[in-house]
């Protein structure tokens, strides 16, 4: 009797489980690695943001999915003061926090949560500042600490940020992952319980998905937030199956063990195109790979030499050999997905004769000796720097310039090139916030001339335009300034702009409405599965 009952109960349970799974939609994403944690303020890796900010949290303003446009998030609207130093955010009402095993919210999202989220990063005296090691590298890298003077709560649904100087890109920074809004009530409760670090490991957010389970290097499981303010997600369960090897990810996708995978192996692309069940999506990456001339050193002080070496490089050959189709020639220092990209610019064509002539005019008719630094690692904007350096070396040789290829361990490479030990260096950049300032000023501004500006190029007419754009709130006017700046850049040629990569993402055809995120993130709100 007992056995029959048990069998009946098991059958029921199994039936219930199947019944539930037939209706519930589960999307499996074969992610590339484990997140460092679940608080996007503390880390800088995209893998971490995919697992935290992009599913679990919201920001005051957000990027419209699939674009770099800023749209309202937890703030319904915002005003900027005349002088550009005061930003007033009007917060959305009726936004519910996740209810989890160790937290049941007693109130909805309000201004206190905004203050908590930013003060934790800003104020070294804040009780949460040192929790979980307390490094806020992205917040610091975007100079938010120096920019924000104070944050003021006007009322429960109005917050005001006072800046030290006008800075138009500030609004784009507010859409970045580190600006995610966390629950103050949850933080207070965890502090009282003596476990403040739980805030960073067991997140409570307002986002479309809430974390259910995490097993390091194995799986992350989320369920749809039932009371999400934009409406409940179309998929009920979101699973990240952590799969580090890209060929294995492809096998899993093919076998139907997952629906979406990032970073395919270029060698598998043809098979993906040929597969009837797979939709291979592609988009230009938000990045640029370049070669920077050290403009503080001879002969690169001379603009004609820089132009000559631009003419001397056969970029198409580089795209073919190094990117194997997963890249396109860059003519501007910003990628085409960023607003203010200047279509009118004409790139230096491959013209060794012209190069020789310019070198002659510059007084280097007999050529010279120099170096090309090649990164030791694969980056999104440069899959094989060594190969690229070899191609450049041979191109330059044809116009009489002898370049020696130099490389160091990655950390060392970054540090030495920052100190300006190179003559020419290969590097690149992946955008943070989709603002042109994030490429142009960060990489070519005078302030960065002894840091991220590897060309160590400080050119007043160019820099003035960028500074003016920083003080201008109107996007149209800013765009004009940046377009003008791109003209000067091309003329002065502190870099050889080489390539923007093309990002590929194979998706199973049952997945509907998946969009590649220009920031390289993976976002599953708004995605559906056909069953």
């Amino acid at each position: 009797m007992k056995r029959t009952l048990l069998a009946a109960a098991t059958a029921l349970a199994v039936g219930a489980a199947f019944g539930a799974s037939a209706e519930a939609k589960t999307l499996v994403y074969c992610s590339e690695g484990s997140p460092e944690g679940f608080n996007p303020q503390l880390y800088t890796a995209g893998t971490t943001f995919d697992a935290s900010s992009r599913q679990v949290y919201n920001r005051l303003v957000q990027f419209e999915r699939g674009t770099t446009n800023i749209v309202p998030g937890l703030a319904e609207s915002w005003d900027i003061s005349e002088d550009g130093t005061v930003y007033t955010f009007h917060l959305r009402e009726g936004v519910a926090w996740h209810t989890t095993d160790n937290f049941t919210p007693s109130r909805e999202f309000n201004a206190d949560d905004v203050l908590f989220s930013f003060r934790r990063q800003l104020d070294p005296e804040h009780p949460y500042h040192d929790v979980s090691g307390g490094g806020y590298e992205y917040f610091n890298a975007m100079s938010m600490g120096g920019l924000i003077d104070r944050i003021e709560k006007v009322d429960d649904y109005t917050v005001r940020f006072h800046l030290n100087k006008p800075e138009a890109p500030f609004i784009a920074n507010m859409a970045m992952d580190f600006a995610s809004i966390m629950s103050k009530e949850y933080a207070d409760k965890m502090m009282e319980a003596g476990t403040p670090e739980k805030v960073d490991l067991e997140p409570v957010g307002t986002g479309p998905f809430q974390l259910v389970q995490y097993r390091k290097d194995a799986v992350i499981r989320y369920k749809a937030h039932p009371d999400y303010w934009e409406g409940k997600a179309a998929i009920d369960t979101l699973v990240f199956a952590i799969t580090p090897d890209n060929s294995v990810r492809w096998q899993k996708l093919k076998a139907g063990e997952c629906h979406v995978m990032p970073y395919p192996n270029p060698a598998d692309l043809d098979a993906m195109r040929a597969d009837d069940n797979i939709d291979l999506k592609s988009q230009e990456g938000l990045n640029v790979g370049y070669l920077a001339f050290n403009t503080e050193k001879d002969p690169f002080k001379n603009v004609k030499v820089r132009q000559a070496l631009n003419y001397a490089v056969n970029k198409q050959a580089i795209i073919d050999a190094v990117f194997q189709g997963a890249g396109r020639i860059a003519k501007n220092p910003i990628p085409p997905t960023i607003w203010s990209y200047n279509e009118e610019i004409e790139d230096y064509p491959y013209d060794p004769e012209k190069a020789k002539q310019l070198l002659e005019e510059a007084g280097y008719g007999d050529g010279f000796e120099t170096d090309v630094w090649a990164m030791p690692v694969q980056r999104p904007y440069n899959p094989n720097a060594r190969r690229m350096a070899e191609l450049i070396q041979s191109d330059w040789q044809k116009v009489g310039v002898d370049a020696e290829i130099v490389s160091y361990e990655w950390g060392e490479y970054l540090a030495r090139s920052k100190r300006g030990e190179h003559e020419t260096v290969l590097l690149g950049w992946t955008g943070d916030n989709g603002d042109p300032d994030n490429f142009l000023y960060v990489l070519l501004g005078c302030d960065a001339a002894s840091g991220a500006n590897r060309a160590r190029w400080c050119y007043e007419p160019f820099n003035d335009l960028l500074l003016k754009a920083k003080r201008t709130a109107d996007k149209q006017k800013r765009a004009e300034l940046y377009q003008e700046a791109q003209v000067i850049f091309k003329e002065q040629a502190p870099w050889i702009t080489i390539a923007h990569s093309i990002v590929f993402e194979p998706v199973r055809k049952v997945v509907k409405n998946y969009k590649i995120d220009p920031f390289g993130g993976h976002i599953f709100y708004g995605v559906d599965i056909e069953q």
């Binding site: 097993r215 194995a218 199956a241 799969t243 090897d245 076998a255 063990e257 060392e412 590097l427």
Partner: protein
């Protein structure tokens, strides 16, 4: 026997100290510091760099850092990961059962196939079977794990669809760890579908990881067998007219096993190093992949702590094998 055990254990202490030195210094010999790598192209100001180095204690002289490390080790504290800020030992022991489970299954596979194959090859020395075993095991021994793993995935998971591609269990199963061993946990929770899924996930990685040990064991067994079969007492047994299966199965095999047991013990170290690659291919959440990631990130505490724990495990296993060996074969005990 007691004295033998004491000397074996006493030898371990200097070995352990040596391991701490190696674990500590190896990762520091690789150029590049964790802070610079963390910042990447974005860069970091000199002040912030100095502050972070100081917070991690990496600005102090090396001998001071080592002293702190070893004092903490003897208090059972391996420090916190630079990246995740969680204690190293916590991360290690959460992932370790997965590696042990995989290694044990791989070893089981290696012994189950390698031992009989070696015995048969030894008995049929010079025959076709012997040559086939030797050729296949040589191939197995020189097989690059990465390539072999991918090949099996493409064949069995991709083309034939018999086994899952990677992972430890289907993502549809929701297993809370009790022991950390998936096979045991699924059974404890009475979830047979999950157990079935876990077994199916184990097959390919265990075969891949077990291939090299299998080859070693087969070759070792064969040569031990050949040696023993040439001994006088075997000839005596034959002369007595014992049936061949008794000669091989009872008299010869028992003695041939002694060197084989040692070799099996030594495979443990090999299994851990092979696990690093196998885990990466099969997305197996064990310590191998974790260690590699930590090295890439110059996560000093994780690398030195992880290495120390892995080395300690290998030392303990070898100690146990040594002791067992002394127990089985008294000649060993008196030799020193």
């Amino acid at each position: 026997m007691f004295r033998f055990a004491i000397t074996r254990i006493a030898v371990l202490l200097p070995t352990f100290i040596g391991v701490t030195v190696i674990a500590f210094s190896l990762i520091r010999l690789i150029p590049g510091d964790p802070v610079e790598l963390l910042a990447g192209e974005r860069g970091i100001s000199a002040e912030r760099h100095a502050k972070l180095m100081q917070e991690m204690g990496l600005d102090r002289p090396l001998h001071e850092q080592y002293l702190t490390f070893i004092l903490d080790v003897f208090q059972g504290d391996l420090g916190k990961s630079i990246r995740t800020k969680t204690p190293v030992s916590e991360e290690f022991f959460a992932l370790f059962p997965a590696t042990v489970e995989l290694s044990l299954c791989a070893l089981l596979f290696a012994v189950a196939i390698g031992l009989p194959a070696g015995v048969l090859a030894g008995v049929r020395r010079g025959k076709v079977f012997d040559h086939s075993v030797m050729t296949v095991s040589l191939a197995g021994y020189s097989m690059p794990i990465f390539w072999w793993g991918l090949l099996l995935i493409i064949l069995f998971s991709g083309t034939l669809g018999w086994t899952p591609v990677s992972g430890r269990i289907s993502v549809m199963h929701f297993i809370e760890p009790i022991t950390g061993f998936m096979l045991i946990d699924t059974l404890l929770q009475g979830n047979y579908a999950a157990f079935n899924s876990a077994v199916r996930h184990l097959i390919l990685p265990a075969v891949v990881l077990g291939t090299i040990p299998l080859a070693v064991i087969a070759r070792q067994t064969r040569s031990a067998m050949i040696e023993v079969l040439g001994e006088d007492y075997v000839r005596t047994a034959r002369a007595k007219g014992l049936p061949p299966w008794r000669i091989v199965g009872l008299h010869a095999l028992r003695n041939a096993l002694i060197p084989v047991v040692t070799v099996i013990g030594l495979q443990v170290g090999l299994l851990f190093s092979g696990a690093i690659l196998t885990e990466t291919i099969f997305a197996w959440p064990g310590i191998g992949k974790w260690l590699v990631d930590s090295i890439h990130r110059r996560d000093y505490p994780s690398v030195q702590g992880g290495l120390l724990l892995v080395a300690s495990t290998v030392m303990i296993v070898n100690l146990i094998v040594d002791l067992l060996y002394g127990l089985i074969n008294p000649r060993i005990r008196h030799a020193r």
